[in-house]
């Protein structure tokens, strides 16, 4: 048996009859009967970073449900993270509405494309989306990549496409983003965190 100090603090149904409650002359029976009518609910609190602006406020996301297959998990509340030194538990009105953004009926949940001349958006797979983006990027880069400027100076730049990076990205993702984009010669790079 694994005996820890913690077991001394245990409060359980079988224990109340011999506890100080009973020994001091009070009956725990009504409390024990009442427990049978109660049910537990489960929630989690998860830290995250607000995706909106450069302040990058910490948020606590409250979710209900127990992660089991049959249970319905749902984000029930989002508030400022009191432990975060940046915002100390506060949020701006936009940040305070984060839950509505997460659960918005209009939220984009998969890649969509509107073909040239079409009026409807069409759902496509992620692989299809990546292929299309890569093809567009390559075509544009092949057409507009500049090896030398008009004075004959080597510049190797691609100025006709820009890249906008995420504000919630950590340092490592930021590093990889710059390495990838600069390797292609792209000069216009910005991040949502600056907007």
């Amino acid at each position: 048996m694994n005996v820890t100090r913690r077991q001394f603090f245990r409060i359980c149904t079988a224990g109340l009859g011999g506890s100080s409650i009973a020994m001091m002359g009070f009956s725990p029976n009504a409390a024990l009967a009442e427990v049978r009518t109660f049910k537990l609910t489960r929630a989690t609190e998860t830290r995250n970073t607000c995706p909106y602006c450069s302040v990058s406020c910490g948020v606590l996301i409250y979710s209900s449900g127990d992660k089991s297959k049959n249970a319905h998990a749902e984000i029930i509340h989002i508030e400022g993270d009191p432990d975060n030194p940046v915002n100390r538990g506060t949020l701006c009105p936009k940040g305070a509405g984060l839950r509505d953004m997460v659960q918005s009926a209009n939220r984009l949940k998969w890649p969509e494309v509107r073909e040239a001349g079409a009026s409807e958006w069409k759902k496509i797979s992620w692989n299809e989306a990546f292929d299309r983006i890569a093809k567009h990027m390559k075509a544009d880069r092949d057409a507009n990549f500049m090896v030398q400027n008009k004075d004959g100076l080597t510049v190797n730049r691609w100025t006709s496409t820009a890249f906008l990076a995420s504000s919630a990205a950590p340092n490592e993702a930021g590093y990889l983003t710059v390495k990838t984009i600069r390797a292609l010669g792209m000069t216009s790079i910005d991040t949502q965190a600056r907007i």
Binding site: R6, F8, S19, V35, T90
Partner: protein, 303 residues
């Protein structure tokens, strides 16, 4: 609210305190009021009311303890240098008159006490210093005598009163930040519960509340206070209640401690509300978690 009172709209620019020492002049009085409110309609109403009277007695005695000698400054400094609590519950010498305090508390609890308390209270009054010290040592060392639970409860209340008065005499600047964060920076005891505090300076930060000396210290939220992990932590509450008292359960170390939210109910008290929500303990225990800190006013609940 009086018309001259300003309303705080912006968060305070002051850094919230890491450690908050107890205020012996009001902590037990507030707790007494909370016990009185909670015992109005409760399945353990008589017990809660009696414990409310015990906290009233603690308050009366706490008011007389401002003459208690504070711990010597060199001992406090030595403790700080070594990252130790200056009022370590088991090793700090109990004040010479502590047994008188325990006997006075027993005396105050005699009137209107239930039949079962008469013998233990009389026994306490007649005990020698050695016998009372033995009960206190057993309590603080987790070796409580199952045949002396009522006596030990009164001794626990006496020690709480004395240690609260001692902790209040400390200067918060002389205290080391507790490491591990689970233990009280003043007396090294385990916490009774967490409380999410709201005030002009504090915006829903979590403080652990010491089970012995009522000191509070800040620990990040959404973290297990027993094993420090921030994964596998979940919150249980009784379906349909106001959410002011939840159990913070850890699937990594399988422990739990209750966490109370002043935002949900400004009156919550870490000791009184803990005892008024025993149903949560029973259900969380059945779900396989064990409690990581004691409430000294309820002993022997493990059977």
């Amino acid at each position: 609210m009086t018309p001259t009172q300003t309303i705080e709209i912006h968060p305070s620019t002051e850094v919230p305190p890491v450690i908050q020492l107890p205020q012996p002049g009001r902590i037990f009085a507030d707790r007494h009021a909370r016990f009185a409110a909670l015992s109005q309609q409760h399945s353990l109403s008589d017990w809660l009311a009696y414990l409310g009277r015990l906290t009233q007695a603690q308050h009366d005695i706490a008011l007389t303890l401002d003459t208690l000698a504070p711990p010597p400054p060199d001992a406090v400094e030595r403790a700080r240098q070594h990252g130790m609590p200056p009022l370590a519950a088991l090793s700090y010498p109990r004040p010479a008159n502590w047994t008188d305090i325990a006997r006075r508390l027993a005396e105050k609890m005699a009137k209107g006490a239930p039949e079962a308390m008469h013998a233990p209270l009389a026994a306490l009054g007649a005990m020698t210093v050695t016998e009372l010290d033995a009960i206190a040592d057993a309590l603080l060392d987790g070796r409580i005598d199952p045949d002396a639970l009522p006596e030990t409860t009164i001794v626990a209340a006496a020690l709480q009163t004395i240690w609260t008065a001692l902790a209040a005499r400390l200067d918060v600047k002389t205290l080391a930040i507790p490491d591990p964060s689970e233990l009280c920076p003043c007396c090294g005891s385990l916490p009774v519960a967490s409380i999410l505090k709201t005030s002009a300076q504090i915006n829903n930060l979590r403080y652990l509340h010491c089970s012995l000396c009522n000191t509070e210290w800040n620990v990040p939220r959404a973290t297990c206070t027993a094993c420090n992990t921030d994964r596998d932590v979940n919150y249980r509450q009784i379906d349909g209640d106001d959410g002011s008292v939840r159990a913070e359960c850890c699937d990594h170390c399988k422990s739990y401690l209750k966490i109370m939210a002043q935002e949900k109910n400004p009156g919550v008290d870490p000791v009184a509300d803990d005892l008024a929500t025993l149903a949560l303990d029973l259900l969380v225990d059945e779900a396989g978690y064990s409690r990581s800190g004691p409430n000294l006013l309820l002993l022997g609940g493990a059977g």
